[in-house]
Symmetry: C2
Amino acid sequence: MTNVFDDPRITAVGLLFEAHAGLSARFNAQLEEHGLSAVEFEVITRLARSPGNQLRMTDLAAQTSLSTSGVTRVVDRMERDGLLTRRACPNDRRSSYAVVTAAGIQRLNETLPGHLQMIEQWFTGQLDPEALAALLDGLRRVRDAAHPCATAGSDDVSPEQVAATGNATRRH
Amino acid sequence: MTNVFDDPRITAVGLLFEAHAGLSARFNAQLEEHGLSAVEFEVITRLARSPGNQLRMTDLAAQTSLSTSGVTRVVDRMERDGLLTRRACPNDRRSSYAVVTAAGIQRLNETLPGHLQMIEQWFTGQLDPEALAALLDGLRRVRDAAHPCATAGSDDVSPEQVAATGNATRRH
DNA sequence: GCCCAACGACTGCTTGAGCAACTATAACCG
DNA sequence: CGGTTATAGTTGCTCAAGCAGTCGTTGGGC
């Protein structure tokens, strides 16, 4: 039967989604070895790359795939585990910062090299440089078109939502 | 500061994940207009493309990003909504089929054209044919490398996990 | 034929996430 | 100033999903 589902558009989306799913699975496995979920890794990465290793809860929510209540809870867990602390904001008593602790930094340092290696192994290393460049170029255009509110909060537009997730964008 | 997080590998993953998140969000919005979640859409699509519009629960689980218990529950909901029915398997009394009802087919027919249009609008239409081909080629290689157990169940390897998800691969 | 291992589906329990309601603070406006 | 509106964060509730355990069924070894 000439199937509607053989439509090349379906195929295209299938490829993108499967690639994402595959990479997510690989990454999750590696992160789990270090006791981090994808979301936790994204949170700690976002914080670590921010000035002072800290970010206001709202900004953190804006930079991740989480709602503000989601952030409250992740930070709860990570604070309980000693990776983060909350710090009051001096200017605005409504706000509070999530700050990475030394233990958090250490955990991240233990995790990152393996993570980068995973990326290389399953993604970037699979393609020769030109093919990779072409892939990234295409992805960038799709991202720019489709991504709803790229990166809010405190960094600029082009930097990326780092690794993590495997579970994206449920609100909006 | 020369930041570890500017590593091109991080950037690459960020692009892929953001593109995926952006598309997921767009697709979810359109699917929701037709009263379907991403998972439900994937389920109904998988069934509709299968011979007899049916699939055993286990095979359905293998083809989707769901565990078998997850499938049990999605099928529960969709059966309650009249989109699917369960049918006993004549050969093996342990197994049962999930079958798309006429209402399910109709719902899918209402949903699909808009969905294809969304794909075109936010994804395939964003690139000229060669760029798209290059993108897909790269994705295919990444997918083949990273995707854990591509498509189990009853269809062959190349066809894709259709649209849907936005929420990928939690088991393994 | 009988037993035991494997399999298919379902259920209880737990977890993570979003939404909406709520509280406290800040900012604005008269 | 005093009151109204907006903002930051948290919490209650709900829901979807996975894991592990259960029950019935099947098939294989003897």
